[in-house]
């Protein structure tokens, strides 16, 4: 079973990102379970969402304390909270950032991959300049870097779940997929 | 007129408290201590007594005269008070 945690801020599409990933995985015939950190968080506040993926039905219904991998939708969270709490050593941290993977030496126990999902989102006019919605792009990168889900399934899921600008979101996912690169194994 | 409904066991009765008959089984005439008596001489057949009877206990006969249904009349006396011709008197029940 794979356990993935999403970090973002309220309003960025964090919970939606976890749902899109779940839908994409389900389209590939696997079992998924996805849920937000239950609470009453408001816009702007840090938000966490979780996804479990398995080839067997998933029965465990407790929270995820030790995720295998992370997606960080908002790089400013890295300074604000310990995003790696409980993260299993060697797990992927996929960060939406303009920086390079090497700029995150604090994550030396993990595998860091970066994607500038904000620029891709803005290029495709998804969300506003002040609040770009980056979930489609970061999932494209996730598909490429981890290979846990195919880009076709991600494209389909993005198309299905985007309430507006469906095509732009699909393009953003594809572009992120195309540009994303896993760093060389150390 | 409704018949009194009698059951012996639960299977005789409906699934819930659902009425099966009308309240005309309940002869409210026994509540009465004053009985309206209509003086046909004075009656002008206006129907006001019928109109104001809360107990649906005045009928109009074939000659258009009101008739008190003593099985149900509770003896409130509204008819006597409202009669424009003073044609209804209330007399003590024996």
């Amino acid at each position: 079973m794979l356990e993935i945690r999403f970090h973002g801020r309220g309003g960025q599409g964090t919970v939606v990102a976890s749902k899109v990933l779940a839908v994409a995985v389900a389209k590939e015939g696997r079992y998924v379970q996805t849920f937000p950190e239950y609470g009453v968080e408001r816009r702007g506040a840090p938000v966490v969402a979780f996804t479990r993926i398995d080839t067997e039905p998933i029965y465990i219904r407790s929270k995820i304390y030790e995720p295998d991998h992370l997606l960080v939708l908002d790089p400013t969270l890295i300074a604000a909270i310990d995003v790696t709490e409980g993260l299993k050593p060697g797990g992927w941290i996929i960060i939406n950032t303009e920086k390079k993977a090497a700029d995150f030496p604090q994550f030396k126990d993990f595998k860091v991959a970066i994607v500038d999902a904000t620029s891709i989102a803005l290029k495709h006019r998804i969300g506003s300049k002040a609040a770009p919605i980056v979930n489609s792009a970061i999932l494209g990168a996730f598909a490429k870097i981890t290979g846990f889900v195919g880009i076709d399934a991600v494209r389909e899921a993005v198309h299905e779940l985007s309430p507006v600008k469906k095509d732009e979101n699909v393009k953003a996912a594809q572009e992120a997929y195309d540009v994303a690169k896993a760093p060389e194994e150390k | 007129m409704s018949e009194e409904i009698k059951w012996e066991k639960e299977s005789d009765m409906p699934l819930m408290a659902m009425s099966l008959g009308r309240m005309t089984v309940n002869k409210t005439g026994s509540w009465r201590n004053l009985r309206p008596v209509i003086d046909k001489e004075k009656c002008n057949k206006c129907g006001i007594c019928w109109k104001f009877c809360p107990d649906v206990s005045i009928e109009i006969d074939s000659e258009d005269y009101p008739v008190v249904i003593l099985d149900f009349c509770k003896g409130c006396g509204i008819c006597a008070v409202e009669c424009p011709k003073d044609a209804i008197g209330m007399v003590k029940e024996a």
């Binding site: - | 409704s2 409904i5 009765m13 409906p14 408290a17 659902m18 009425s19 099966l20 008959g21 009308r22 309240m23 005309t24 089984v25 309940n26 002869k27 409210t28 509540w31 057949k45 206006c46 129907g47 109109k51 104001f52 809360p54 107990d55 649906v56 206990s57 109009i60 258009d64 249904i69 099985d71 149900f72 509770k74 003896g75 409130c76 006396g77 509204i78 006597a80 008070v81 409202e82 209330m90």
Partner: protein, 304 residues
């Protein structure tokens, strides 16, 4: 004989109302106008007893007994259920006392009329919780004695203006009626039947045990309450346009108050206080009716 109201009796004899019950006449008249294609819902009130015990009933139409505060909501549900099954014709009527309307049921009532659900809500108002033995309600008039407002501490608050509250919801039709004016009452029920949306009827219904009056003067009291301007008969269209159903020359208030034990303790000054309240309200009503005249005239012209 000349019948001034429909002949057909839908409500039957044998019901459990007290002698001289005004609420019973209200039902008898309303059903004459509503006809057999009517469904009633009845919260806790005198009528929950009057209709008769299981397995009997006196109303002659389907009746759903329900919890005290739910008459309006149940009526909304019945309407929706019937509509979904293709019956948009049957009249759905919530029939509640003043407790179930002015007090405990006002929330659900406000909900139903705010949604403008297509139901008729009838409040038969006997001005206290009569079913439980005459405790005050917010419909009890100023000065009245009830079992919870004893003579030395009679009701110190004015009767809630339920008509105004209903009008404030902007519903298409609101009307007051009295059991002494059967023809007027029946006309109003007929009108309510024809108008889609929420209709509210407020019927004054004397209660001999509660008002401490003789049963034979029920109609007299129901007439005097109108003639003294204590309970004016009027209609409100669309929540804004007022029309007095009659504008009788005001009779002295004491003619209405005197025969009722619930007002017997009142001093002259206190009667004068009620008089002042009555005049104030009646003047306001007349003003509202005057202001509404052009609307009614325009409506009439349109019809012609």
């Amino acid at each position: 004989m000349r019948y001034t109201i429909p002949e057909q009796e839908i409500m039957c004899a044998g019901h459990k109302a007290c002698q001289g019950c005004g609420a019973t006449l209200a039902m008898r008249y309303a059903l004459k106008a509503l006809g057999p294609k009517t469904m009633l819902t009845l919260p806790a009130c005198c009528w929950s007893v009057i209709d008769g015990p299981f397995p009997y009933s006196s109303v002659g139409v389907p009746l759903f007994h329900t919890a005290f505060e739910t008459a309006a909501a149940v009526a909304s549900g019945i309407r929706a259920g019937l509509d979904m099954r293709g019956d948009t014709e049957t009249n759905v009527v919530a029939w509640a006392g003043d407790g179930g309307t002015f007090d405990i049921g006002i929330q659900a009532l406000s909900g139903t009329v705010e949604r403008n659900d297509n139901v008729i809500y009838v409040c038969y108002d006997n001005e206290a919780y009569m079913n439980t033995g005459v405790q005050r309600s917010s419909a009890t008039p100023w000065g009245a004695v009830t079992s919870t407002t004893p003579p030395r501490h009679f009701k110190q608050e004015r009767k809630k203006d339920m008509m105004a509250i209903m009008a404030a919801h902007g519903i298409p039709y609101t009307a007051s009626a009295s059991v002494a004016y059967a023809e007027d009452l029946i006309r109003k029920v007929n009108k309510a039947k024809q108008i889609p949306g929420s209709k509210f009827l407020h019927i004054i219904a004397p209660c001999p045990p509660g008002w401490r009056s003789s049963p034979e003067i029920t109609i007299q009291l129901a007439r005097l309450v109108v003639q003294t301007h204590m309970f004016p008969l009027y209609e409100i269209y669309e929540g804004r346009y007022y029309k007095l159903s009659m504008d009788p020359k005001k009779k002295p208030l004491t003619e209405y108050l005197k025969p009722q034990g619930r007002f017997r303790h009142l001093t002259e000054e206190q009667v004068a206080e009620i008089d002042r309240q009555v005049d104030e309200r009646y003047a306001r009503l007349k003003e509202q009716a005057e202001r509404s005249k052009p609307w009614f005239e325009a409506k009439k012209e349109k019809k012609d």
